[in-house]
Assembly symmetry: C2
Homo-oligomer: 387 residues x 2
């Protein structure tokens, strides 16, 4: 396998883009990434597009080919991949694989979703496509229900408190204020969080990521082909895709997702790094409690200490590890297919040293993208090219 | 890149499976392929699932992970890929890539679709997800409309007649009678075809593939790891994925699909073969006229001679090249995401010498899977392992 770098990035704002066709959002982010990379478009040898529910919500598929055509890219393999909320991370891994294996020297990754135009009943039904509806459908659970149960179990086992979880919300919503691409930002008090609308006990409104539109894109290039490109390259040290149980009952423990644990272990082993080496992480905080679970699963803090670390500021900038300085899904937004690629966009900006909410001196970054009820996961480790 | 063989195949019947959840159809075909391969399931290192419209028609996504879990496969990357009607072929190419590049030694490919449970208005809308609806939607074209136009252009340019096109229908529907997995078979007369219901002038009912449910699966293995397996291996000589114009207006000529032409050229060049070397082909006859266009695009007969070759029996068993002895999409059926994998299933059975409608002595086989309005295409060349 050849060494691969990220040479270009692009992103639309995450938020409301109702009225903009989904392929146009994708084209906008991809064009920005191509220009940013300095690579002539003729050099792109594969396109991977991550998307989850454009079929049900837009009546549009084959988006990889449509986007490539509109960008004027050459006749190369164009593939949509889907793995629920991990679709973007899976798209990235496949572009990495195409380049690392020598199939091509450069590949374009795009993640995109549009959801805000649809009524809530329709987006809820679409999001539930990420569950095993045959087996778990009869439980009546939606994703807030699942993460509400996870919170209760985490609280019971580890003593995690409302105030600790609120520390996650306050950190991420405040970060959103400093990220121009974020859907929402706010300086919240614990009282405001606790008083926000009840969604699914114990989740309140501010514990849940919003419904979002958006697109993000990344250009990956073989290191040998990246000389002379304008941007500081970011090295892809490892990118791992795993599978977890597909049924909720298949998880022995709702306080942990096996797919995250195994992806992180494989990624650290491949990169020759340990969790303590990571300076900045964008992880899958679809709900506030998820940030705590994910951080523990990734090994960033000891099991059961995620709430405590959040409350003590150890997951903020200047703490032990900066988690979601973009605002995360909670504040930046969660245009599902775009999320995993958007995480890479954010970490690359951190490593380039031009993030609006900077983690000073960040050299090693990580992304974590989780799909469905933990059935799919990707973890990627990145390093600043001059580190 | 390592050499790769197909070591196992499985397929449900194509037809009506209403009431069977889509993931169960996929599991059935995949389990058959795994058993057929003789490979312990622990050896499977990647899963690729081709599917087009399970989201809109079933409300179910992340099928790759769900199917892998239900099969008891290990924790490996499980990816759904989508490229409209070429989804199955794209899934196969990615499994090949995973093995050829050394990511893993064996991979499972599954293609699946269920459509017959939905009302026609809904399946028509779902199928139109394969078009660039922003740009081509206002034309009002559905796929029968597009291929009706292609027929008219082919007739005008090359003098292709109703009788020549009916020869395709008669051949494929008759082949369907001999294929137990086919959705429909019939011994038809030209009069019966011409008198069948008008769909979209000049297409009659028998010119159109049916709406289908079904699943097919293939196990690919690195040649070095396939020793001692029970089945005669089938060599993957080349598998190519291309992109064509995404808008109908982007095609200079409706009588030809650029994506097919370029995929075939690349595949023959990679394999060191010429069209005349091919003994049996399963190609994308979503409509009768498509078989004629595809055959010409693949180089199997001179441009403009597709109709004549069909009428002269040169595309039947015993002719110059046996096209669609499975019955093709016209008679075997077209469960969209399954079709490309089903074509591989059929050709492997031909090369193993155990097809119910055999092409005697077949040593070189080909599959051709076309997506959308020609935006995605895969072509694969296979060789009998002892040839």
């Amino acid at each position: 396998m050849r060494e691969v770098v990220i040479a270009g990035i692009g992103s639309t704002a995450f938020g409301r883009h109702a009225g903009t066709p989904i392929e146009q959002l994708a084209v906008r982010a991809a064009a920005e990434a191509l220009i940013d990379s300095g690579l002539p478009r003729e050099r792109i040898g594969a396109v991977y597009l991550g998307n989850f529910v454009s079929g049900p919500l837009n009546g549009k598929e084959v988006l990889a080919g449509i986007v490539a055509d509109q960008l004027g890219l050459p006749n190369v393999p164009c593939t949509k991949v889907e793995g629920a909320c991990a679709s973007g991370g899976i798209a990235f891994r496949h572009a990495w694989l195409a380049v690392a294996s020598g199939q091509c020297d450069a590949a374009l990754v795009v993640g995109v979703e549009t959801m805000t135009h649809a009524p809530t009943s329709q987006t809820t039904a679409a999001l539930n496509c990420a569950m095993d509806n045959t087996n778990d459908g009869p439980s009546g659970l939606t994703f807030p229900g699942l993460f509400g149960l996870a919170w209760r179990q985490h609280a019971q086992r580890h003593g995690t408190t409302r105030a600790q979880v609120s520390a996650v919300v306050r950190k991420n919503k405040a970060a959103g204020l400093r990220n121009p691409l974020a859907q929402m930002g706010a300086d919240l008090t614990d009282e405001q969080i606790a008083a926000s609308a009840a969604i699914c006990d114990p989740l309140q409104l501010f514990d849940c990521c919003p419904t979002s539109d958006g697109a993000a894109a990344v250009v990956v290039v073989a290191r040998d082909c990246a000389r002379g490109l304008p941007r500081l390259p970011v090295d892809v040290l490892a990118t791992v895709q795993t599978r977890g149980a597909s049924r909720i009952a298949g998880h022995p423990d709702l306080c942990s997702f096996d797919a995250t644990v195994s992806a992180a272990r494989q990624a650290f082993a491949t990169a020759g790094l340990a969790p303590a080496d990571v300076d900045v992480v964008e992880l899958h905080d679809c709900f506030s409690i998820a940030e705590i679970i994910d951080g523990e699963d990734l090994g960033l803090m000891p099991r059961g200490h995620g709430g405590g670390w959040a409350a003590e500021g150890r997951t903020g900038i200047g703490g032990d590890v900066a988690i979601n300085p973009s605002g995360g899904l909670l504040a930046k937004g969660h245009p599902v297919g775009a999320t995993g690629v958007g995480q890479l966009y954010e970490v690359v900006r951190q490593l380039r040293g031009d993030h609006p909410n900077p983690v000073p001196g960040a050299a090693i970054g990580m992304t974590h993208n989780l799909g469905g009820t933990g059935v799919a996961c990707t973890v990627t480790l990145l390093r600043r090219g001059d580190a």
